[in-house]
Symmetry: C2
Subunit: 313 residues, 2 copies
């Protein structure tokens, strides 16, 4: 179930020419505040503004040439829709994006700006899946899942590989955990490219399915998802959970106010724009300072696509 | 009146160990929008969040050892107060900061966090100057001017030197112009480290003293300064104006709405936090696209210290 070192290495080489090698930022003040030495991997500066570009590129590049030419389809209202649109555009193939009819116009505009073809469906998961299936039947396009797909997982992990190549002595890595693709990919990166790196997921308490899954050994679901971290409302899947279960050290849960405070602190001190979901790992570090005290900690800042006109502070 | 190549080179070497070599960002979308190839020098990531750290460090390092030990004094409510505080702290000397008694608490807190000693004065320029003189008399501290001081000017110019070293084929550089230190320093950098670089200042129309000074040949003043670009409300001085008059190509004026729109665009597309003043050179480029069409343009993003709870959009 666990991809090999060769799988991980090949994904890294495959993805590298198609993405930005994003910078790593540090802050003396945030180090003092947290008691750790933190290395922030800025995937908010990635193409289309989030790490999801990496998984989308890798998954499309892994398609057989004949399938690839027929395009790809996904249903998403978030960063993965933009990532698939831009990755497909850059590789010269069509991207069919099913979006709920209540998706904000700003998200539709972003998909359109990256060349995605939008199909509006009813706002239920079932309606979205049905429409995606219809598009597959009609066009021969391949369905891409945003997190429960080995090639997507391997692609997402390439951010942590870059981070470890630049800072090989990292002792911990923390990423957000929503669908689980980034956390699973980062855990694979740490296994093969780090030396004894402990990998943690940061998760909103209000959508703590990954925490409950990790501690029960079975995939759990959220009955409600009242969190500002809108990228972390989804649940794990059968492709990424075995990797997470085997390679991750723990999941740390944080409250809404902790997420907002961490987000504000990162904006103020790093002078960068990050999404609420993106602040969750730093909030987790601040919540559990003892675990990270005196250690070199890598944090993957996952994305920067945020509506500037409705900030939580 | 114009510092020599050796002066500029020595300032660069003097300042380098004490500041961040800040990253340079590019954006395909902003290039498409503007018709130019833009290289953004991110001084918002500088220590204390602005290029002013460079001038403060250089000016303090240039003081004779006996004077330096007695500390420095300035009157400012903005970035220069923070820069002098942090530079002095890093060099182990006291920084006396005169601030108007109506300065926002957040600005006082920033100065205190960097170790500056605050003295509250009445809010008039005369009262501030009087108090600064009293502190000089009492402590033997040296007064530092935020822009009209050759060592400050040489320090501010080191950002443009870094930019030109990384991108030697730049054809234009645009900086904001307020007191004139950054513009004069950047013009010196371009003269000695670039090859035929045209240097422009971007200025708010509502505080266009530098434009009027440049075109009249005499230092002009603002009768009102109703601009969101709060770092650009001051006027030129007798040390920097001769440099600007001789080496700068032109000053481009922009309206308030253009500044706000440019600021929002930089936040959204570069995913970085910049001050309103900092958006003025990019607004100037967008206003005068013809001048920069097809050219490689460096823009110094001057700082990122902004109150996140009162944004103009």
């Amino acid at each position: 179930m666990i991809p090999s070192q060769q799988d991980v290495q090949q994904a890294f080489e495959r993805v590298a020419p198609h993405v930005h090698q994003t910078p790593v930022l540090t802050s003396r003040l945030l180090d003092e505040l947290s008691g750790a030495s933190i290395f922030f991997k800025c995937e908010n500066f990635q193409k289309m503004g989030a790490f999801k570009m990496r998984g989308a590129i890798n998954a499309i590049l892994q398609l057989p040439q004949a399938d690839r030419a027929k395009g790809v389809v996904t249903h998403s209202s978030g960063n993965f829709a933009q990532a698939v649109s831009l990755a497909a555009k850059n590789l010269g193939i069509p991207a069919h994006i099913v979006m709920p009819n209540n998706a904000p116009q700003v998200k539709k505009d972003a998909v359109i700006s990256y060349g995605g073809i939008i199909y509006e469906s009813e706002a239920t998961i079932a309606a979205r899946q049905t429409m995606a299936s219809q598009i597959q039947d009609k066009t021969g396009a391949t369905f891409l899942h945003p997190s429960n797909d080995i090639d997507v997982i391997l692609g997402q992990g390439t951010a942590a590989i870059e981070l470890l190549q630049k800072h090989p002595s990292l002792q911990c890595i923390i990423t957000p955990v929503g669908g689980g693709g980034l956390l699973a990919g980062s855990a694979l990166a740490a296994k093969y490219f780090g030396s004894s790196v402990n990998v943690y997921g940061g998760e909103p308490l209000n959508a703590d399915d990954a925490y409950r899954s990790f501690h029960s050994g079975e995939i759990q679901y959220n009955s409600q998802v009242h969190t500002i971290a809108d990228g972390l409302r989804t649940h794990l899947g059968d492709k990424n959970f075995p990797i997470i279960k085997t390679l991750v050290t723990d999941i740390i849960r944080v409250e809404e106010q902790e997420i907002i405070a961490a987000m504000k602190l990162l904006w103020e001190r790093l002078k960068i724009i990050i999404e609420p979901s993106c602040a969750v790992p730093f909030a987790a570090l601040l919540k559990d300072k003892k675990t990270f005290a005196g250690k070199k900690v890598g944090i993957v800042l996952s994305g920067g696509n945020v509506d500037l006109t409705s900030l939580p502070f």
